[in-house]
Symmetry: C2
Subunit: 373 residues, 2 copies
């Protein structure tokens, strides 16, 4: 596998080419992509396509997508799933298989995942398994999915005993990130995506961190030029990380920056009280503070990151759970090993690594950054 990523901007479109040998594919980012026939040329063509979406996104964009691809496929099947993480399960997956088989979809059928991360994960996994693998195209309609699901090939469904436990690494043939779909995105979901965008600067790219600082107001205002560049850069950075480490593990774990504290905040406050984006935003500020207290980065850099999180509209003070509870929750984190919490920490401005930290310092961080009990 090569880690070469070619990016270019054609007219108003940005294209990030993910190089994975015979599994290479382009990510096309821009406006009005549904009306642009050239965008869909690498989606393939043939007898049958299936648009898999959910009851929220389907009414908004499924007909538009069908128009965009109808000259490439003789028939287009529509499969609508219920909206929500709680339906990312074996029953929904089977529904996709039932529909494909009852429509006699053959192994050249192309699946189109139209929606956010849940639709993308389920459709990708369905494509990985149907007749042992058929092509699929990602059409992410949330900022989080455009940044996060476009690169890496992770597909999965949840199991009652664990999230994303059943899945496959399976690459799409094409990703189309239409910026216009972000205009209909609820504030909560936009914020979740924005937290992930901000994350890429401090852990991977100081220049991009500077750029986000300069353009944070445009991003919040959903300016499509700013969003287009941010999505492009995040996809490039994630592709570099994934190329080093396609099947999981250490290098890739830096993308969990802010998530150790963030998950503790989410779980400790009770799901739904803190939004995921808010929790990750606050978690990044706390992880930066921990890095500074360990002498790994300058205090000035930690403060800059906290200001950026604040300007993005996220809280920077964690909920009042008590340090014991925070530590207990973080010990249950996926990354912990033998009960030792492993933090994603900044070890210089714009670079991260995974390591444990002394409980006493972690307690100082919680005391300094959370409401006092």
């Amino acid at each position: 596998m090569s880690d070469v990523i070619a990016a270019e901007q054609r007219n108003d479109k940005r294209i990030v080419q993910i190089e994975l040998g015979d599994r290479s594919y382009p990510i096309v980012i821009g406006r009005r992509l549904f009306d642009d026939a050239s965008v869909w040329s690498s989606a393939g063509e043939g007898d049958c396509a299936a648009i898999v979406t959910n009851t929220t996104v389907g009414p908004l964009y499924a007909a538009t997508l069908e128009r965009a691809i109808s000259n490439r496929f003789r028939r287009v099947i529509h499969i609508e799933l219920r909206d929500g993480e709680e339906f990312k399960d074996a029953a929904s997956l089977n529904h996709i298989f039932d529909r494909l088989l009852s429509e006699r979809a053959d192994r050249k059928t192309v699946l189109f995942a139209l929606g956010g991360g849940v639709v993308g994960d389920m459709t990708g996994f369905a494509a990985a398994c149907y007749m042992r693998g058929i092509p699929f195209v990602q059409v992410p309609t949330t900022l989080l999915a455009q940044v996060d699901s476009s690169v890496g090939g992770k597909t999965a469904i949840n199991h009652p005993l664990g999230k994303n436990m059943i899945g496959a690494f399976y690459q799409p043939r094409l990703v189309v990130a239409d910026l216009d779909t972000l205009s209909t995105l609820p504030a909560r979901e936009f914020a979740a995506g924005l937290a992930e965008v901000i994350k890429y600067g401090p852990v991977l790219d100081p220049q991009f961190f500077n750029w986000i600082e300069t353009n944070i107001d445009a991003l919040i205002a959903r300016d499509t030029d700013a969003l287009g560049y941010a999505i492009q850069r995040c996809c490039e950075l994630k592709a570099e990380v994934v190329a080093k480490d396609e099947h999981e593990a250490n290098v890739r774990a830096v993308l969990n920056f802010g998530h150790t504290f963030g998950h503790a905040i989410e779980t400790g406050a009770g799901y739904g009280v803190w939004m995921h984006g808010e929790a990750v935003g606050c978690g990044m500020a706390m992880a930066a503070d921990l890095s500074a207290r360990l002498g790994m980065i300058s205090e000035a850099f930690a403060i800059r990151l906290r200001r950026l999180v604040e300007r993005a509209g996220f809280p920077v003070v964690g909920p009042r759970l008590g340090a014991d509870r925070y530590l207990e929750l973080m010990r249950h984190d996926k990354k912990s090993e033998g009960g030792e919490i492993r933090f994603v920490l900044l070890d210089e401005d714009g670079h991260a690594s995974i390591r444990p930290a002394p409980d006493t310092i972690v307690r100082q961080v919680i005391d300094a950054n959370c409401q006092r009990s």
Copy 2:
């Protein structure tokens, strides 16, 4: 991917090395392999292994397999599925996932598939999907599975609307084919495997065809030396075919020799009336006759093949269905395209290709080889 296959015979063990880059693995064929620690060295080691088997094979060999691997894994989970093709479904697959998750099996857990093709297909697919892929080892205990499932990486479950519709291409880390397990195989299942062994000669290797002719009595008597060589040669031949065409399609289809007529016989007579091996055996004789009538092979070669099928104990006269019914059934075959039946035909002694044939000649073959209506 390389198509190099290295075979060697060490002491009484035969080893076929399947070369697939970083997914390469050995097939070990021999007697008393459960007692041979060196055989299991490429199975890996670690905290957890799971033996997946069924209610028929488990009581015979699961404890023996556990002893063979117990020094490599700290704990060994046993998962027993119900025996039969009708249980090769999503419910059984979920049972495997439920057990693995409730036992907290992590992503380094190694699955061992102990049984025939059904257990191998389901366990392989479970390994492909659990936490997006964990290692697995095939321990096939039927002749059919030792010949057929050892090479090719096909895994799947059935769906109510079609066999093997949901699955993945996923390679094992090791295949251990212990010839002693064949001693407990029911006659019906042994015959099914033998038909597949015979198949490899006429379509791929004239020398192997000669060898089978010379050794057919030893094979029928389940002589382990003869079976060991036959399984080795079939694995080598299949590996060459699969290397040309890992993900299905044309080259690989020659392995369906005898199956077009065979499936028509099985379905037309009613499932269970003809055994699968019997139907494939008779189907090979019919396909050879068709090849001879089309002038593709000598009549002498077709007669030799029919004699071999007869000596192996299979019927060479098909059931009385009528030519119309045969043609109708064959038009529903997977390989048919646009209603045109595509036969695997011998185009010279020891070589095959896929092609249509005129209905009039096919009717002659049916009239000459089946009971008259």
